[in-house]
């Protein structure tokens, strides 16, 4: 998976604080896809929700960047905004009653053994994974997406999620195990390769 | 004295009804919903007016419906209006242009307030894309057919 890029330069951040439009655009371009992707998967490939959350995050960033003094990594601060925006929005939605699609997952389980790459190239697998992630409790969902999209260290994740490292580990553990259970049929297909 | 008391009792009993008659629907240009209204991209180009309730305990409980009443080549037409929520908490809705360009049109907006119980209509004659403010009738009761037809006739 495409990993996280480097931190934005201090010069651009300074320029953003001064109200420089081009600098803000550069900042946006540097982070937009990652922010959008987290929101996209958080809300089960809902492009509208992802777009709205991304807008909300960058608008809030605009309002508050003057207060960012660099005591933590900028990305950590940004991802805190992303997580809060996603979790807050998830609270406002009715429960994601999406459930696994038994037809899709049975089809996957019954397929001849495929390599990992072939497996994940299948649209139905991607859809099932997206659906399963979206049904995780919001805080567990956020932890998993932050870890694997942004490759944040546990310490940075603790900052972004505003909790202890122990809590980060606990959420990842519970989130992964839940996800594994939801994706049991996909996992069965993998096992048949071994 | 007893007559005075009787009048007072009548007034007290009538108070809710009197208070209810103040309920009305107010209209304004799109800017009345605030210059910061990004509700939809089409807002500024297709919204002809915004409407809000006045004198109802809880504006968010007001039900507003509307029709576009027209006279096109001598034929009467009536089209239901779809109202776009702008600020549901304040009961503010936007009306986008939903009727043909030709002909003469009056928008009839009807509202009901549950508490105090009241109903009111506002009749808004249109001139193309703009409403005719000085011919708009803000009524404190439901509009009658005669009032609507009289306004349409005046336009045509």
């Amino acid at each position: 998976m495409d990993g996280a890029g480097g931190e934005i330069s201090p010069e651009i951040l300074d320029a953003c604080r001064r109200g420089d439009r081009e600098a803000f655009r550069a900042l946006y371009e540097a982070y937009k896809d990652r922010v959008y992707s987290i929101a996209f998967y958080f809300f089960q490939a809902d492009a509208d929700a992802a777009g709205e959350v991304t807008q909300q995050v960058f608008l809030k960033l605009m309002r508050e960047i003057a207060r960012f003094r660099g005591e933590a990594a900028f990305s950590t601060w940004l991802y805190r905004l992303v997580v809060n925006a996603c979790v807050d929005r998830a609270r406002g939605r009715r429960a994601d009653v999406v459930g696994e699609d038994p037809v899709t997952l049975d089809t996957i389980a019954a397929s001849p053994a495929l390599s990992h790459e072939e497996m994940f190239a299948r649209h139905e697998v991607a859809t099932s994974v997206q659906r399963a992630i979206a049904t995780l409790p919001p805080k567990l969902r956020a932890a998993i997406l932050l870890r694997y999209f942004e490759d944040l260290s546990y310490s940075d994740m603790a900052d972004a999620l505003n909790c202890s490292i122990g809590t980060v580990a606990s959420r990842l553990s519970r989130g992964h195990r839940l996800l594994a259970k939801k994706l049991a049929p996909v996992r069965m297909a993998f096992r048949s390769e071994e | 004295m007893s007559r005075l008391i009787a009048w007072l009792v009548v007034l007290m009993l009538a108070a809710p009804a009197i208070a209810g008659t103040k309920f009305r629907l107010e209209i304004g240009p799109p800017i009345a919903a605030g210059t910061g209204t990004p509700a939809t991209k089409q807002f500024k180009n297709k919204v002809v007016l915004v409407v809000r309730p006045q004198v109802c305990d809880n504006p968010s409980t007001v039900q507003i419906t509307g029709t576009a009443e027209g006279l096109v080549n001598g034929m009467r037409q009536s089209l239901p209006l779809e109202l776009t929520p702008v600020n549901p908490a304040q009961g503010i809705y936007a009306v986008q242009r939903q009727w043909p360009e030709n002909g003469h049109w009056v928008l009839q907006l009807n509202g009901t307030c549950p508490n105090p119980k009241a109903a009111a209509s506002t009749l808004v004659p249109m001139d193309g894309f703009t409403f005719i403010r000085n011919k708009t009738q803000v009524l404190r009761e439901p509009a009658t057919r005669q009032q609507l037809e009289a306004l349409l006739k005046e336009l045509s």
Partner: protein
């Protein structure tokens, strides 16, 4: 007797983030604990699945939405510099741009004269109404319509600008956050469907900042202008002075003083004349008397703008007159209005707009 399971250490174990000692401890435990071994397999599988997710590109509409919302939210400085800085920059550089523009004017013998510079990007598309053809044009080029001809400028995906005969318009810069035209003289009619402040028309006496709407702008030979709104609303800005013009209203602009005081086109002739006199500093006191006397409730549009334009000694009169039509909302006090408190003025304007 009790074994502490290592669930919470497993994610870091999988990610290689445990110390050597902790890693060895987990190894030993997992070897002996079925429960934790299964947990480890689940976590490893789940992590491998999530790593397959691809980064999704944010569509352009996301940025457009940010621009749209940023501008309409009070106090946000982006995506442009603070308005004061922008106006200062405009005021300083306008005479220079004007001189450069004059130097670049191409005389039109007849019809629409369009120049093409092959090496420059050409973000503008211009259609000659008479000849039916369209050409792509670059920023800095002029659209100049002679007698009898007209043109239509296609503003990207945002809308169109109809250029009337005897009009000269310079095509300005195009960027993701701005399309700019400069109207030198003549009349254009714009119909724009875009996020606010994306489309701006500079005139000699004001910038017409499009807030997503339809309007007609006319500039006379002496640089005086007139904006008539047909849909939505627009803001005329110049050196810190701003006039908000809703549909059904118009506003004049004057070189050296910028946007005038707006009024509705159905206001009385006497009120309109008085507003023009006031703006041109002709017998301001008498003009104000006429305005206050002629005003209807709808003319609170005009009265509201006058609050910040009259002399301090007259401000209370304007306040009282507006208050006769519509009392200020709770929290908006007379003192705050007379002190031209921005928040109080805005809140009263929002309430008054329901009468416009």
């Amino acid at each position: 007797m009790f074994t502490r399971h290592v669930d919470d250490s497993l994610p870091r174990y999988c990610d290689g983030e445990l110390s050597t000692a902790d890693r060895q401890r987990v190894d030993a435990h997992v070897a002996a604990c079925e429960r934790c071994r299964l947990a480890l397999e689940e976590i490893q599988f789940s992590a491998s699945v999530v790593r397959q997710l691809k980064v999704i590109s944010a569509p352009p509409s996301v940025w457009n939405g940010i621009v749209e919302n940023a501008i309409v939210e009070a106090g946000l400085p982006w995506p442009e510099r603070s308005r004061r800085q922008t106006r200062r920059a405009r005021g300083r550089s306008y005479p220079l741009r004007w001189a450069v523009a004059c130097g670049l004017v191409l005389a039109a013998a007849a019809g629409v004269y369009l120049s093409i510079r092959a090496t420059m990007p050409r973000p503008w598309e211009v259609a000659g109404v008479n000849d039916g053809g369209t050409r792509r044009m670059a920023a800095g080029e002029w659209v100049d319509t002679g007698g009898g001809s007209a043109a239509r400028i296609i503003v990207g995906q945002l809308g169109t600008v109809d250029v009337a005969p005897q009009t000269r318009v310079r095509l300005g810069q195009v960027s993701p956050t701005e399309y700019r035209l400069k109207l030198d003289r003549g009349t254009i009619s714009a119909e724009i469907n875009a996020p606010p402040r994306l489309f701006i028309v500079d005139t000699p006496a004001s910038a017409v900042v499009d807030l997503g709407c339809a309007y007609t702008v006319t500039v006379a030979e002496n640089g005086a202008g007139e904006l008539r709104m047909t849909k939505g609303w627009s803001s005329l800005e110049w050196k810190g002075r701003e006039s908000l013009v809703p549909a059904g209203a118009m506003c004049r602009t004057r070189p050296g003083s910028g946007p005038g005081t707006p009024y509705f086109e159905d206001a009385s002739a006497a009120l309109k004349r008085a507003v023009d006199d006031f703006d041109e500093s002709k017998n301001r006191s008498e003009a104000l008397d006429v305005i206050l006397g002629e005003a209807r409730v709808r003319d609170t549009l005009t009265l509201w703008h006058l609050l910040s334009r009259v002399d301090v000694s007259d401000r209370a009169r304007v306040y009282e007159r507006i208050a006769q039509f519509e009392a200020p909302p709770v929290g908006v006090t007379r003192d705050r209005i007379l002190a031209l408190d921005a928040d109080a003025l805005r809140r009263w304007r929002e309430e008054l707009a329901w009468k416009w």
